[in-house]
Symmetry: C2
Subunit: 342 residues, 2 copies
């Protein structure tokens, strides 16, 4: 951070599962599609650059996005021992032609793998896969895990409007289960964006949580999670609206015969096998998540280094007054299990 606020709890060994990377430079576009939404960078003020997409500034980001030394310094300030690195979600590029998507994901995965291999004690990497082509996504997942040694990948809650619980993605989740790859679900191009009144920033503030909630529910109602019980999958922003949907889904499942017939897993039980980050900015909401999902499923997440980030990730957790054992789980133990490091 430019002006880091010293946290009340200096170094407590947290693993921050929700941090984003933007490469310092992108390769030039060498594909064949005239209007491809391929990113590039342009100079901005000191230590910053613009991410350019389709000819305009998508977001202006700082060197925190690509500089490992800056990140490590920030981590020392906030008590984060280990960051899980994932691409800025817009870079997942599901709207590119499959061959361009492969090229972008390969580049992102190589970039993140490079950061991890230079600091293997401090960084864990999640890559990207071109889910607009499920076969290509499976191939890239294998390369990401086997060659690049990434822990897994970040995916959107939907791919060009198709929610991840759709049967077309089953083979991808089967591959993730088999490879032991960790999956981190982050909202992107959310439904509900047409219900917002106000500045563009409301998309991430108000529409992201609903997108994540519906994505999580779809893995239960569509049967994916029942078919792949070994899948280690985590949802960002505390699962978004999923905590609010869950009691109603549970009641519906108990009440509507058609839902009980078609949905193999009890929703409440399935929800306690997903993982979630803690990024809800509110003590009472975090306590409610712990009650709803269990203290074995929550992990620290901050959205570092973006404006919306939680700058004092340990404080909301500390305010809950948990036992040292439970706090240690939330700080790092659950993340290690999700990441397959335990």
């Amino acid at each position: 951070m430019t002006n880091p606020t010293p946290t009340l709890r200096p170094c407590c060994g947290m693993t921050d599962v929700h941090t984003h990377v933007v490469p310092e430079r992108f390769p030039a576009y060498v594909g064949k599609h005239l209007d491809a939404r391929w990113p590039s960078t342009a100079p901005a003020h000191a230590c910053h650059q613009h991410v350019m997409l389709a000819g305009s500034v998508y977001r202006t980001v700082s060197h925190q996005c690509w500089s490992s030394s800056v990140r490590l310094s920030d981590m020392d300030t906030t008590g984060v021992t280990r960051q899980v690195l994932s691409p800025m979600p817009e870079l997942l590029s599901y709207w590119l032609a499959p061959e361009d998507g492969v090229a972008m994901c390969r580049f992102l995965n190589e970039t993140i793998a490079g950061m991890v291999s230079a600091q293997p004690q401090r960084f864990v990497g999640l890559g990207a896969v071109p889910l607009q082509d499920v076969d290509a996504a499976i191939r890239e997942l294998e390369i990401a895990v086997r060659e690049f040694k990434l822990a897994g990948v970040e995916i959107g809650g939907n791919v060009e409007g198709t929610v991840i619980g759709d049967a077309k993605f089953s083979r991808f989740f089967a591959a993730a289960e088999q490879l032991g790859a960790s999956i981190f679900v982050h909202p992107l191009r959310p439904s509900g964006a047409d219900r917002l009144i106000g500045p563009a920033a409301l998309e991430q503030v108000l529409a992201f949580p609903g997108e994540t909630g519906l994505a999580a529910a779809s893995l239960i109602t569509g049967g994916t999670f029942a078919a792949h019980p070994g899948l280690r999958i985590a949802f960002s922003h505390g699962g978004g609206s999923f905590q609010a949907l869950l009691p109603r889904l549970q009641h519906g499942w108990e009440t509507f015969p058609v839902l009980k017939d078609k949905i193999a897993l009890e929703p409440r039980a399935a929800a306690r096998r997903f993982y979630y980050d803690s990024l809800v900015y509110d003590r009472a909401t975090l306590a409610h998540l712990l009650h709803s999902f269990g203290d074995t499923q929550l992990m620290v997440g901050t959205d570092y280094p973006f404006l919306i980030m939680d700058k004092r990730p340990g404080d909301t957790l500390a305010a809950l007054g948990l036992s040292p054992e439970v706090e240690a789980r939330l700080h790092s133990g659950n993340a290690e299990r999700w990441l397959g490091l335990a």
Copy 2:
């Protein structure tokens, strides 16, 4: 109910703000639009009939929907002293041509007013307005309140895809504020329906909450609630996902200068001036709503007489172990304030 389950708390004077009415018969369509989605009824099994829309069965409903004597008997079983009657949401008919919408709303309002005037101690009425034409909606609201003596109206969270916080509806909310009309927001044709995998029942189970959450947020972010501070507005299903959106909206408002500049009301404070029903089917979630919104803003709601209804509305509240004073507020005091009966 066909087989009422006796509640643990027999008669405790509850006002149930979320109950629906379907008229026993609809007038024949006399408009000029060939494919108007105008409802009719067709016989079903004993005490039931089909609501027909566009040539097929929309829903099969029982005489609980139109028979006051059946309703009163059920109310005595569940400890509900007073029901707030509102149309089955699909009947709001925003997709009809405005003149047909006026005719449908007038018919619904007359039907509900008739039920209320025969049992003024047991029923309070909410009508419908044709929000597809804001001028017509304002005229019908005046007639509903002044001539039909209804307490207010039920509205959707959106009208043909336009969320209620859009500036085009400001004049309607100004009229509601001036008339002292209570507004009950119920989801209808929700966003996110394209993210569901599974039976059609999932629309009401999973997509309704997000629609309501975004509708509530839009009244804050769009400025409607700041402009009409006297508006008495309630959200169904405990506000849906709004409780999950609120801490993130509050954090965004505190963090993004553009949001603080454009949004006049602090989201957390505004949320504590909306009303909500208690229909969340879960003790811990209800406790979280009480914490988030305050014990002056929650009211009993059941979705009587539909399949998804809460058959034991007093039990979840009783399990919270609240003081008699707070419980009385939740049972009826808050509803009386919202309805302007206090």
